[in-house]
Symmetry: C2
């Protein structure tokens, strides 16, 4: 795609100054309309070293209200997400509705550098970042209502050398230090190929690339304004009717997964006490082993109201080192969370190497409460099955242990526990109007749970259904499962 | 203070099991009442290595609803705040109203380690963290409505050795890896002295230390519950009448600082254009030099509505590398920000070494809009003068360049600009009801500005008042001042 850019176009300083005021006003006005409509925008500037991206970005910024944008750079280390999956950083940095994120070097930076490093090794090393992951991410963004504008600034080898000389003359030999970007000269041909093939592989309908000639600074500035303004105008016109979206009436009928479990399973108090102690001690040691090997783990709890999630989590953690794990309770999203992609808040809680994050309710809220309460459209929760599978697969591929529990009780058992909570003064705070309202929709929830278990029990991230009418049985099954999974992760070479 | 702890007290496992259920219910209930009243709580567990803090913390956690607490450890690196002033981490980690932060090793960790390291050097090295900074921080927290509970777990040298042996037997030689805490054995005497004197120096009325004997695990658990519950109960009873607080009717009358500036200062368009270009180019190079030397800078803008803050910032940044600076506009606090200390959101935006944070409006909102609009009580904004001076002094001591601008225009000039905005279609969005409302309180604001300039123009962080009736003069003064300050910072050895 690079060859299509016409590097010969010129625009004099005077010509540019004549149109500059108009461009600034136009983009400023568009930014205000984006805010009104609550559209989040991400603008990527990638391209050659010394293609003067900083200057082009500055000229765009001059028209923007700083209350609505943030400039970022993947070439600069982000210490907060070091050690976490590559995409974590970009997920946590997503702009809120109506805001603009501008990247001088985006997630493509890692891709480009990885490929260049690999190509320079004699055998070619295995890649750590894949174009396919980027495509999945960008599709999730586009589907989630983000406007993505991808700009590649292209220059010739001669221009790069001239620019490098000029930068060196202004700032001295170490001019590149400020943006953390190491200049790799004399790699033009190698990089040309890498850029070209990567752009080709990631040029998608809703995530198009714009290759802009930057041989002449004014041309690059003018073209960048043009692309950005046109893309925003199109997004503002887009009524988001989702007319092209067809619900995939899945041919396969959803089987009644839940009915296959024996809820009468139970354990005596003595046996429980003994085994509980044993497994708690075992987990205490396993946590230490995981930490030593820098293995991260996510343990996800879902289940009916009063199915005993909290109690199970408490038994699971009681002998763990409190500094090495974290319980993240998921409730109604906050104002800020609502202004982001629904997966955003979960990416914020990624466990660092050697740590454990326990979610008390999870991202599956999308296909449970949000589905049943009609908080999102059908196409949104239907799409979530795929998005969740993609996300969990990515986590697993990064070596994170992932365990998902569904705590299953029957309707009678729930009623008994609700009554108990109502009648025990120290427990009344645990039962609310909402619990009764959810209960009245039991059958709808049951349908949603069945479909969730069916569609998101993948090879790499299977659900573990826990028979939870008997609390002792349920807790022991949870502890045993976690211990087994930790053992398995530790056994891997 | 350590000697006062009675290490001989015993409590058997059976005794403890008998009271455990009651303790868990009591603390769970107190947590719910804290949430209702919106009191934020910070519980510190500091003390000897191998004093089984993790176990004591776990026993407290067992009674808490995970929706309301977070366990942290200063012994574990927090990559997000590396390179920032020592206190940044603790400021950004502050719990929201109604939430509890529990530290296994708190800000005292750095103090203790620093002192131990220094003591072991032949001459004794200079300390990087000071007890006085901690006292300032804790006072600001207490004044800001945080409940602070400081617990030190004390053990004898024999007990420490026994515990170390036991831990090693369970986990192997590297048992301490999980909490990032390096065991320094055979330092008991040295550390005894350090702990004792530090505790002594930081034991304040609203930030009391509790030294708890941890010779016997059950005693430590019981005592920790006792201290925490009693402190919370006291805080819940506290009606916060601030009866002890006396407004310091400052003897010194506030002088009319503002009137001393000549608002007729102006610059011709030609001169402006020429100098602007010169200073922008100069700043471009200076930014690079600062980055190379890892010097961070904060540039704070305050001024009347329509005094030209935005325009000045735009000229200041137009040639800067967009990746190396960030404009942080300060508006009404969000829901989340309101649940924190008023200084919290500014600590979140600390510039990393080599970077520049530009605030468009600042922490001075406390003594300007919040004072004039009566959003806070008089004692709160009065206290803020001291708190702000303390905070700015701390930043300066950490080597951060701090420049504070007040853009001064007169009432007629503001009217002319308001009218211009109303009459120019591309500018109407810039003028709102609120601007007119603020204007109607001009005299009250003037009084507040005068007092602010008078009380917070310190030697290390003086205000720069910019005569801004003429935009050209104002912008050039801003650019020149920044360039001078950067030059000065770079000239330091």
């Amino acid at each position: 795609m690079l060859e299509k850019a016409d590097l010969k176009v010129k625009c004099s300083k005077e010509e540019y100054e004549n149109i500059e005021e108009g461009l600034l006003e136009r983009i400023g006005c568009l930014q205000r309309r984006l805010r009104e409509k609550g559209i989040p925008v991400i603008i990527l500037f990638d391209g050659w070293h010394a293609s003067l991206r900083g200057r082009v970005i500055s000229s765009v910024l001059a028209g923007l209200d700083p209350r609505g944008f943030r400039v970022r750079s993947a070439a600069k280390k982000n210490a907060c997400t070091e050690g976490l999956p590559y995409m974590t950083r970009f997920w946590t940095e997503l702009p809120a509705q109506g805001s603009i994120a501008i990247y001088n070097n985006s997630w493509y930076y890692g891709l480009f550098e990885d490929k260049a490093d690999s190509a320079k090794k004699s055998e070619g090393a295995e890649l750590k970042v894949h174009a396919e992951d980027v495509n999945v991410f960008e599709k999730q963004l586009a589907d989630g209502g983000y406007l993505l504008i991808k700009i590649f600034l292209h220059i010739s080898q001669e221009r790069q050398e001239k620019n490098l000389e000029k930068l060196e003359k202004t700032y001295g030999k170490d001019w590149h230090k400020i943006d953390g970007n190491h200049v790799k000269e004399k790699e033009y041909e190698l990089r040309y190929e890498i850029y070209d093939e990567t752009i080709e592989a990631t040029d998608k309908r809703k995530a198009k690339w714009y290759v802009i000639p930057a041989e002449d600074l004014q041309v690059a500035q003018r073209e960048a304004f043009g692309v950005i303004c046109r893309e925003i105008e199109t997004a503002l016109k887009d009524e988001r009717t989702d007319e092209n979206y067809r619900l995939q009436e899945d041919a396969k009928k959803v089987p009644d997964v839940l009915s296959g479990f024996d809820l009468s399973l139970n354990v005596s108090k003595d046996e429980y006490k003994e085994e509980l102690k044993e497994y708690q001690k075992k987990l205490q040691k396993l946590q230490f082993q995981l930490a030593k090997k820098d293995i991260a783990a996510i343990i996800a709890f879902e289940g009916w109201d009063a199915s005993g999630k909290g109690g199970a989590i408490r038994r699971l953690t009681s002998l763990l080192d409190p500094v090495g794990y974290r319980v993240v309770p998921i409730g109604k999203p906050t104002e800020t969370e609502l202004q982001h992609h629904y997966l955003w808040r979960f990416w914020q809680a990624m466990p660092f190497p050697g740590e454990i994050t326990i979610f008390d309710r999870t991202w599956y809220g999308r296909v449970l409460v949000e589905r049943v309460e009609s908080l999102v459209k059908e196409q949104e929760w239907r799409r979530a099955y795929r998005e969740i599978n993609e996300t969990e697969e990515l986590w697993r591929r990064e070596g994170i242990v992932l365990i998902k529990f569904w705590l299953q009780i029957d309707k009678e058992q729930q009623m008994a526990r609700f009554r108990d909570r109502e009648n025990t003064p120290s427990k009344t705070w645990k039962i609310t109007e909402e619990d009764w309202r959810n209960r009245s929709r039991w059958e709808e929830y049951e349908k949603a749970v069945n479909e969730m278990l069916f569609r998101t029990s993948t090879d790499v991230a299977p659900w573990v259904v826990v028979e939870a009418n008997d609390k002792y049985h349920a807790r022991l099954k949870v502890l045993k499962t976690v211990a087994d999974e930790f053992d398995r992760a530790l056994a891997k070479p």
